[in-house]
Amino acid sequence: MSVKTKKVKEMTLDDKRVIEVALAGNPNTGKSTLFNALTGLRQKIGNWPGVTVEKKEGKKRCDGFNLIITDLPGTYSLSAYSLDEKIARSFIIEGKLDVVVQIIDASNLERNLYLTTMLRELGANVVIALNMMDLLEESSSSIDVNKLSKEMGVPVVPMIASSRIGIDDLENTIESIYQKEQKPIRITYSKEIEEVLANVQEILMSIPSIPSDFDSRWLAIQIIQNDPEILTFLKNWNVNKTIIEKLLSFGREDYEAEIIDTKYEFITNVTSKALKRGEEKLTRSDLVDKVVTHKWLGIPIFLIVMWGAFQFVFAISVPFMELIDMLFGWLAGLLVDNINIGWLGSLLGDGIVGGLGAVLIFVPPIFAMFFILSVLEDSGYLARAAFVMDKIMVKFGLHGHSFIPMLLGFGCNVPAIMSTRSLKNNKDRMITILINPFMSCGARMPVFILFAGLFFGAAAGTVIFALYILGIVVAIFTAILLRKTFFKGKSAPFIMELPPYHTPKLRSATVAMWDKGKMYLKKAGTIILIGVMFVWFLAAMPFGGVEYGGPDTWLAAVGTFFEPIFRPLGFDWRIVVALIVGFVAKELVVGALGTIVGGGGSEEGIKDAILADEGFYPLNSLSLMVFTLLYVPCAAVIGVMRKETGSWRWTIFAVVYSTVIAWLFALVVFQLGSLMNLGL
């Protein structure tokens, strides 16, 4: 911003200068790639204060100086309409930054430069990282880097972030300009606007309380465009009421359009000098789009891609799952048999190792799911999927972007709910969060596989498929209901960039898989582990003489207490216990049943024990599966819902609503089934 803030900052420890940098840029320009290339693993991920927008900070040691890098939300502009833009803008104004690096997709220069004009008008010290030079070359266009730099009045560093080309240049350029004051480019607007700006600026100059961080021309430009945030600024500076009114009276609807038009005219003038376009024809991406969004082919292709993704997830993960199952089964057995201090062997073996195994077994499919989703996103197809699905989604009270969190929900609802951050409209986002638990996550699968496999033989696949469909139907029904009641109004506009198709990069898919998978591991390591130990404790108490998991334990007492509520669904106390445990995490349900019915902890043993038990039969196993499908997925989901909705009320609503719905559906299944006397 102003010259005053650009003091040399000394770091006491190694006596190196610290340069504070922010990364700005449009979405899909390679911001994350550049950020990772610069900072490696030295990143801190958190939230911007008070909101659920991710904030990443990182450090980089360079030759003779250190960089502190903040990743700003990807934005097309810096107006104060969207949350992301507000965050980026106020960080640039107030962040005491030395340099703002704007990463630009070279193959999409014009629209990217619009953000540059805004950054420069704001007075930021800008370096352009001209990324994706490889794609530019491919399209047989070319950019005259020196001319671009001269016309925009900022240094331009060409680079290919995904191949780490140009990173050193960028660091050196940052170092060379960080103390220099750039002359703001001045876009000259129409005569009328310039006159108004001069008048507003004159008034602004006479207000001493305006901090020097704010450029008065920038403020004037915002004021005459009726920028919604300006009033707050002025009030914070205790500007006299009549002066505020006077200032705001300069604002006019059409100035805004004129200003944007003029900026783009300026840009067109720059690109006419600096950019040589290859022959303008339909690109390969456009041709692919003609097929992928084709009237008849579009939806079948969508379904095939989704089916393929699921096939991939299962094919890749099954061998790993079997390996984990074997390993932990063997380890648990070893502990129980060899530790002779009674309860300790049982705690370590049955409780911790057995429980941990039950959780870790889901790591392969969940990681595979994130991997394939990242591949789909990188390739550009996910944006097309949202495009293809938008109309259907809107019909259901959702938004094209709701589709991705719903898909992710089949893996794990925790990261799925976090991914709703891509929805910028609060109502769209709330509905998408609240319906997500009905998308059947991977942890519910073992319950389905066990019971459908045991009681429905050849029809097991159909039963499981029907359960997934039931979950989707309930989700849609809930979405429509919410849109008609608490979240009335239209879904946000669908102004979405369709990025060109890329060959996905293994590295970025792996990084994304690890980033998101970590959340699951964290959940496994905390909530689920505590849950496992708690179950073990209840199943072993009171100490002395009771059979582990038997009818005299505290666990049985809890189940018996709640049994009356569940008797109409066909559940006895043992199923009730498993379901209560499942409230902590669905991963625990099968294990808890194993504890209670016996079977020695192995999958086969549990199966035999259940088949031999009169308390389990096809009809109540069906209502058990329906109940498992629909009630709260796990404690971690409750936590993440609270965090992402910012409201306990809505979180509690979701818990109560889904449990009631689960109870009702299971009731209908069991009672109808009994009435029709299907012989189940």
Binding site: Y76, S77, S79, Y81, S107, N108, L109, E110, R111, Y114, E253, E256, A257, I260, D261, Y264, E265, R277, L282, S285, D286, D289, K290, T293, H294, K295, W296, L297, G298, I299, F387, V388, D390, K391, I392, V394, G400, P493, F494, I495, M496, E497, L498, P499, P500
Partner: protein, 78 residues
């Protein structure tokens, strides 16, 4: 181009038109213009979603999707 004034959502796939103005005010106009739908921009219809909505357009060297409802606010010369 036959110099007929129409709305963006009325065009067929393959049509190329020139933006005249955005016929709506407030945030929607701002966002459309900031994405590059400014006066004089040449815009081509690339394709429509299988259910007819939204629609994919190309201008200023990149592709953008708009719902019919939003495209209907863009006045073009075709």
């Amino acid at each position: 181009m036959s110099n007929k004034v129409t709305k963006l959502d009325q065009l067929e796939i393959g049509d190329i038109a020139k933006v005249i103005t955005i016929d709506v005010s407030g945030e929607l106009r701002r966002r459309l213009m900031e994405m590059g739908l400014t006066r004089g921009t040449l815009i081509e219809v690339i394709g429509k979603a299988p259910l007819g909505d939204p629609i994919e357009y190309k201008f200023k060297g990149y592709n953008l999707s708009l719902r019919k409802e939003e495209a209907n606010k863009v006045v073009v010369e075709h």
